[in-house]
Symmetry: C2
């Protein structure tokens, strides 16, 4: 089963933090549109396809392409969406996240985590892949990793990772609380409530619930999913856990994900979709370092490989989905 | 695209009205469990499989079996569910229906209809099959047909159609309002608000929205779907419309659906799943006249035929789904 959790945090509105939308106003619509693209194959609530400020199309396009080749459907989950979506959703988190500089960032963190856990325990599957879509998510992930005392290292949807900006946002948040890094070690719910986001709470809960019933879990994403793995470990769950990401995150020297994954005793799967040398608008921005990952892209690519689908076929289907999106809604940079 | 709308009306609590649950307390859970069975292949929120008081398993089993043979997924819609469901849903109607003897039966009928219309206009498909699951739905359908001045004739999930009881309930409702049959002709929203249910409002809205964009619509169900067709016609939409039902509804002499369909200038597709002579607990109760239809069963059977799937294969898969349900949750009469 492939689930995609969408949500929001006001942390994304800090200028320069996120590339998951063409403008600050459009950021809030990205997760809702991503769920629609992955579920229906196109945006449905509006005709806006999420793109970065430089025009890079959302990685939801690639996730959808993989699911189409596998003839499988994603199960969308509401992990605190800011805008309505026309995709069917299971509601887990009921509210958006607050700017982490004004804690608590997620007042309802415990109930979101517990609702996620309860759902994870009940989903009828023995193999669960979880993706996420939340602009600003790497900054809240950095805050959570820092608060738990883990390696403070996250990637970015921007080609130039604004890591100094993210660190200063997290420092401001911790300083305002009079907390040191590591202050929330072994207190994952407190870390989520104070400095996290509702998607992290939802995915961490889902993971713990699925692990409780012996279900295998693959976290499909980059350093945000490392923050989830950290939350799961600090909650006392030490079962095997895989993070499946893209070669674009794997090649990000500003955030060595292998070290994070090793720290957390997880497995890492890195899949290269082979976009280099293709020269197509669906691929070029990724080659230039934009987007890198998101909407479960790394998890979807790993699923394709596990099911014997070649990356050439994934690329062909990505072009097909991209062309369909262009028809239904022009992608404008 | 196959959508299944679940919802509730307190009209179902009138003793003797509905067989869509083993007991009056369990009736409210049936639509939520049906959505889970059709979406996941088993109930997820609880271990209760909806059965009639005589032990007939929900027709959601057959709908799920068809979707499995087609390797397709249903899109669940919340049309006023009384209980939470673990299936992902698109929320269209926000509240349960009231007992039609205490009008208005659906205070938010107009907003549910308009939300359904808006969704129907946006769903990216050129062929939409809609199913329903709402205990007590044939009684509200009778009320709506009567209020619109159409043939007052509905089938039943009970082997012995309690038509006199239903008619007296509808008479009581109309008398309390000081209304004659036909009082709401050409006023479908008023009919829905006063005497309908939230699923009828949702399905009628979806249908009208889809017809607006040239999408073909198949109403997968029995006489409740005839009430939807009546609402659509009284809303001024005269596009072709198909009702796809089961041979069990087709053979119900208490409610001649062919006459209803002719009145409303619709097409009728009747599919016989060939349960006779099979002697299996998944089939026997249908042969005895229980359940008959529901959860999109007739629409699913028509989809199977349209896709070249034999009824023998549908029966085999129905047994597989039934056996899986027995494993996950014993079906008790």
């Amino acid at each position: 089963m492939f689930v995609l959790v969408g949500g929001s945090t006001a942390t994304a509105r800090i200028p320069g933090i996120s590339a998951a939308g063409a403008s600050p106003e459009l950021l809030a619509h990205t997760p809702s549109a991503d769920l629609e693209i992955v579920y229906y194959g196109e945006p449905v609530s509006s005709s806006v396809v999420p793109v970065s400020p430089t025009g890079c199309p959302t990685p939801a396009v690639i996730t959808r392409a993989v699911l189409e080749t596998l003839e499988r459907s994603a199960t969308p989950i509401d992990g605190g969406l800011a805008q309505p979506t026309a995709a069917p959703t299971i509601s887990v988190a009921n509210s958006c996240g607050v700017d982490i500089r004004s804690p608590p960032a997620v007042q309802s963190a415990e109930s979101a985590f517990m609702a996620g856990k309860s759902l994870g325990e009940r989903l009828p599957t023995d193999s669960l892949t979880i993706g996420e879509t939340i602009p600003g998510g790497t900054t809240t992930a950095l805050a959570v990793l820092t608060a738990l005392g883990e390696r403070a290292s996250v990637s970015s949807s921007l080609a130039d990772n604004p890591l100094e900006l993210k660190r200063s946002v997290v420092d401001d948040a911790l300083t305002a609380l009079d907390h040191e890094p590591g202050a929330f070690a072994n207190r994952p719910i407190d870390a989520l409530r104070t400095l996290g986001d509702p998607v992290l709470a939802t995915v961490a809960g889902l993971t713990v619930g699925a692990l409780e019933t012996g279900c295998g879990v693959t976290l499909g994403g980059g350093t945000q999913m490392a923050a989830v793995a950290a939350l799961v470990r600090h909650a006392g769950y030490h079962e095997p856990l895989t993070i499946a990401t893209t070669s674009f995150v794997g090649a990000d020297d500003t955030a060595p994900i292998q070290l994070l994954v090793d720290d957390l005793d997880c497995s890492l799967t890195v899949t290269d979709p082979g976009f280099d040398g293709q020269s197509h608008p669906a691929f070029d921005a990724y080659e230039a370092g934009h987007a890198k990952e998101g909407a479960g892209m790394g998890g979807a690519l790993a699923l394709a490989t596990a099911n014997g689908i070649s990356m050439a076929r994934v690329r062909d289907q990505t072009i097909a989905v991209y062309d369909r999106l262009l028809e239904s809604a022009p992608v404008e940079p």
